[in-house]
């Protein structure tokens, strides 16, 4: 198994770990968003979606453990990359200028990533590890977003998630080696469209719940 450690522990291997776990999170986000959209069909639709999901029992537990494992890999590898890359240039330039390659997404990856980690903990405390006896998930979410502070935090978090994904998604394809003259322009467009879907799709939900529903 030494070969596996050598392969995954190399600079390209660490990139691969970031790419695969990152793509995993992107598909999770797509599924999470699809489920959340049931909110627009009213509280019964949303509550029954939640009930159906929880009736899957062990499958959900397995999925949660899988996500937790992915998160650990993504965070530990990302931190290692951040530290190693910082060390790779001990004397900094006194003048830095981009040639146009970097984007806000690529520039801020470690920082947006760190913010998202804190946000996810906050999010789980709010809606996951909360006592749900005598109430419904719809009520919990609805009353949370009556607080303007929550709405602002969630909208900002979604903007930051979109910035992270705008670089992460196309970058994952480049990393797994899928850079093709025919498909790369399309993949880049998809990354930006997907980021927009995250901002609008997730970001509008708190606003809708707090002010419209």
């Amino acid at each position: 198994m030494n070969w596996l450690v050598n392969t995954l522990g190399s600079s390209i291997g660490k990139k691969l770990l970031m790419a695969i776990t990152g793509l995993g999170f992107c598909s999770f986000l797509a599924g999470h968003l699809a489920g959340n959209l049931t909110i627009y069909w009213g509280k019964d639709a949303f509550n029954s979606y939640a009930a159906h999901l929880h009736s899957l029992g062990p499958i959900i537990t397995m999925a949660e453990l899988g996500l937790l494992f992915f998160a650990l890999v993504h965070i530990l590898t990302g931190t290692t990359l951040f530290y190693q890359n910082f060390k790779a240039r001990p004397v900094r330039y006194s003048m830095n200028k981009s040639a146009g390659g970097r984007t806000i997404g690529s520039r801020t990856m470690p920082y947006t990533g760190f913010f998202l980690l804190i946000f996810i903990v906050f999010h789980l405390i709010n809606f996951h590890f909360i006592d749900k006896t005598g109430t419904t998930i719809y009520q919990i979410v609805h009353s949370a977003f009556e607080n303007i502070g929550y709405v602002v935090i969630y909208v900002i978090a979604m903007i930051i998630a979109a910035i992270h994904v705008s670089h992460g998604l196309w970058s994952a394809f480049q990393t797994i080696g899928a850079n093709h003259v025919k498909y790369m322009p399309f993949i880049k467009v998809v990354s930006y469209v997907f980021s927009l879907i995250i901002v609008i799709g997730f970001g509008f939900l708190p606003v809708y719940l707090g002010y419209i529903a």
Binding site: N6, S11, I12, L16, A88, P90, K97, A99, S171, Q174
Partner: protein
């Protein structure tokens, strides 16, 4: 008539690898806009020598953009502001009168400063050495068409082989990663049938050597392809990734 300009230069001066360096300011007066950037430094160095001061050390050789010896970071951009240009091919007409120009050496843990703007780039050679050899049969020359190579593969390999090994990709990378350089060297062989027999061994040993030399990790910032004087594309990095996965996961090579 030749136009001349006056400039203020801030140049990194460092006596040796272990010495502390700093930016020194020099006036460059009556610089012809037809000069190259290196010729401009030559003029300053003549002036410094006449004043009995130590001239600015910098690497150069061909001065026609093909050897890869020259290079410095000019106002935050490796090889200066022009696209697809080496420092020796950068002309002073791209600067305006009274400009201030900051000139720094390539910055990377793997490229220690030897003196002033000259850096030690043998790390790049070490990666190539780690790549080893390719198998070429000796004996009578075989027919030129015995091994078919598509025009497309030949073109892509030629594009990769345009790398002059100057190190600008490392200097430009926010992570000081050498992936563009390595990907060019791996690609130029991986695209040819002649490079196939040792492809797996080559990908693994070259990547391992790169990691050992203290370069950073690529995070697809794509600054390298924007700064490369030979405009080498990051599609080569994707190819290197594929070669490395093939070698790491599917070959018997360890």
């Amino acid at each position: 008539m030749t136009k001349t300009i006056n400039l203020t230069l801030k140049v990194w001066r460092q006596k040796g690898q272990k010495k502390k360096g700093r930016l020194e300011t020099y006036k460059a007066v009556d610089i012809s806009t037809d000069m190259s950037f290196l010729e401009m430094i030559d003029v300053i160095n003549e002036q410094l020598t006449l004043e009995g001061k130590e001239p600015i050390a910098f690497d150069h050789d061909c001065r026609e953009g093909i050897c890869g010896m020259c290079g410095a970071v000019v106002n935050g951009r490796p090889h200066g502001p022009e696209k697809g240009t080496t420092l020796c091919q950068l002309h002073m007409r791209h600067f305006s009168n009274n400009d201030t120009i900051v000139i720094e050496p390539w910055r990377s843990r793997a490229f220690p400063v030897i003196k002033d703007l000259a850096v030690e780039r043998s790390a790049l050679d070490r990666m190539i050495q780690a790549g080893g050899f390719i198998s070429v049969n000796t004996g009578g020359a075989q027919d030129a068409n015995a091994i078919p190579v598509s025009q497309e593969a030949a073109e892509l390999a030629m594009d990769a082989a345009a790398c002059i090994g100057c190190g600008a990709c490392v200097a430009a990378c926010p992570n000081a990663s050498a992936m563009l350089f390595l990907s060019a060297k791996v690609s130029q062989l991986a695209l040819f049938p002649q490079g196939k027999p040792e492809a797996a061994k080559r990908a693994i040993s070259m990547v391992r050597e790169m990691d050992m030399l203290g370069f950073g990790n690529c995070t697809n910032e794509t600054e390298c392809e924007a700064e490369c004087p030979k405009e080498i594309s990051i599609t080569n990095i994707a190819r290197l990734n594929r070669e490395f996965y093939k070698a790491g996961f599917f070959s018997a090579e360890k």
